[in-house]
């Protein structure tokens, strides 16, 4: 990194790298309680001059749905949602996500809220970006205790969707569907491959040289701070304030 590189916050880095992963698509939907994916989606829209269409499910303003709670899932089933975000109490090296429990299902040691739409959306949304800021051996495990939704399926299973990447607070993994395996794509500035290995509970591929995650450029930072942040404040006031300094208006 050169001296000319503008300073940025970790959230800005993550948003920028997720915006890159979104790529050139028609429609990105973002679930509840996902301020960084929401920032990324809105940034992608700004850079794409209105494309992709962004639906923030938590917002009344930033989603078009008028057919009730089923419309998100119907829309995905129609092939009209290109990118979605999922997280997991546990995520394993084959891309399986666990949003249910650790231990016996009916009497678990740890209980998470539940699978939400993962048992469906993971199969039908072409690009699912896994996002979990806490990167530890507790969250990124060798084998999940409960599969809310599997990372891959047998060839005969109807499946147009699945994970393309996993973004954490330390790095970006890409997912290889054929190998059913993650590969370390980049390490965030200030972090190291060794650190990633140490804190990851699953095996993953890596090249001899792993690049650093590209820092957000000046244009991306300007768009996030000036254009995206005020939009975010509607649904993520705390986040918009603490990350971007947007004043909370009661």
């Amino acid at each position: 990194m050169t001296a000319a590189q503008p300073e940025f916050r970790p959230e800005e880095l993550l948003s920028s790298v997720i915006a890159e992963l979104i790529g050139d698509v028609r429609h990105v939907a973002v679930g509840n309680a996902s301020p960084i994916p929401a920032t990324a989606a809105l940034l992608a829209r700004e850079r794409g001059k209105g494309r992709p269409y962004v639906s923030l499910l938590q917002s009344r303003k930033h989603n078009f749905f008028t057919d009730g709670g089923r419309e998100l899932f119907d829309c995905a089933g129609q092939g009209r949602i290109d990118v979605f975000f999922l997280s997991g109490g546990e995520i394993d090296g084959e891309g399986n996500v666990n949003l249910v429990s650790i231990g016996e299902h009916d009497h678990p040691k740890v209980r998470f809220p539940g699978s939400f739409g993962s048992g469906y959306l993971y199969y039908v949304v072409p690009k699912v970006i896994l996002f979990r800021t806490e990167h530890s051996r507790r969250t990124l495990v060798s084998k999940v205790s409960f599969i809310s939704a599997p990372g891959t399926s047998e060839p005969n299973v109807y499946r147009h969707g699945g994970p393309i990447a996993l973004v954490t607070n330390r790095c970006v993994f890409s997912f290889d569907k054929a190998k059913k395996r993650f590969a370390l794509a980049s390490v965030h500035p200030g972090h190291s491959v060794e650190e990633v290995v140490e804190h990851t509970g699953f095996e993953f591929d890596r090249a001899a040289q792993v690049p650093f995650t590209s820092a957000p450029d000046a244009d991306a930072l300007r768009l996030m701070r000036e254009t995206v942040a005020p939009e975010l404040a509607e649904i993520y006031p705390q986040f918009a304030q603490s990350v971007f300094g947007v004043k909370i208006v009661a």
Binding site: G68, G69, R70, L99, K109, P113, G119, E154, V157
Partner: protein, 272 residues
Amino acid sequence: MAVIASTIESALEAIADGCTLAVPRENSGVAMEATRALIRRGIKNINLVALPTSSLQADLLIGAGCLASLETSAVSLGEFGAAPRFTAAMTSGTLTLKDSTCPALHAAFQASEKGIPFMPLRGLVGSDLTKHRPDWQFIDNPFGDNDPIVLLPAIKPDVALFHAPMADRSGNVWIGRQRELGTMAHASTKTIVTVEKIHDGDLLADPILAAGTLPGFYVDAVAVVPRGAWPLPLPDHYAADGEHLAEYARMAATPDGFQKYLAQHVHDRRAA
């Protein structure tokens, strides 16, 4: 067919101990004051079905010992963290839970709405959810070839209960974009609604209002309960009371704290 009930308690009469009760997700119009009234009444053995998730409502009913079972795709307080009574009941093994996924719940209600015994759904193949759902069946899609697909049995609740912005005196209820409330009513034998206010005039007479109206034909009782979703939000009307939800999360973290919350905010509180 609806009558405007004079008290919330009388509107809720059809919700009997042991019944299957359908409720909407946390941001679609949850009848929270009605839920508190049910807890005050000491309701028992309810089979609660959340379409498709729940937050404070399920957590309160679990903590107050009102549930026989729960079917949902998640219970969480969202930005206020895990649902403490749900989590405690699960880890102590005292709650019978049917874990689902959101579109499966929507589809199973739509099956009931359409009078069909089941609805197919994509996804779910290879999910551990299916291991705990003997009521779900896989078939080889007759229109495909070696193409497994899950069939979800219709969910037909005894009663649907939700909160909406307004109703007219014929019991027509304006639900707006929350179309799943209509499906919930169609799927359920009876429907009970609390509303912010009574609309003067006929909601079905104006084509613009009619487009967002659940006909009173499907509604068995309506009670007027201003801010009836509090402390949860009512879309386009009021936001969640974050301070109160944070207080709930704090108090409900322990059994004693939860009992204190019940005493303060459920038993000592009456509908306006």
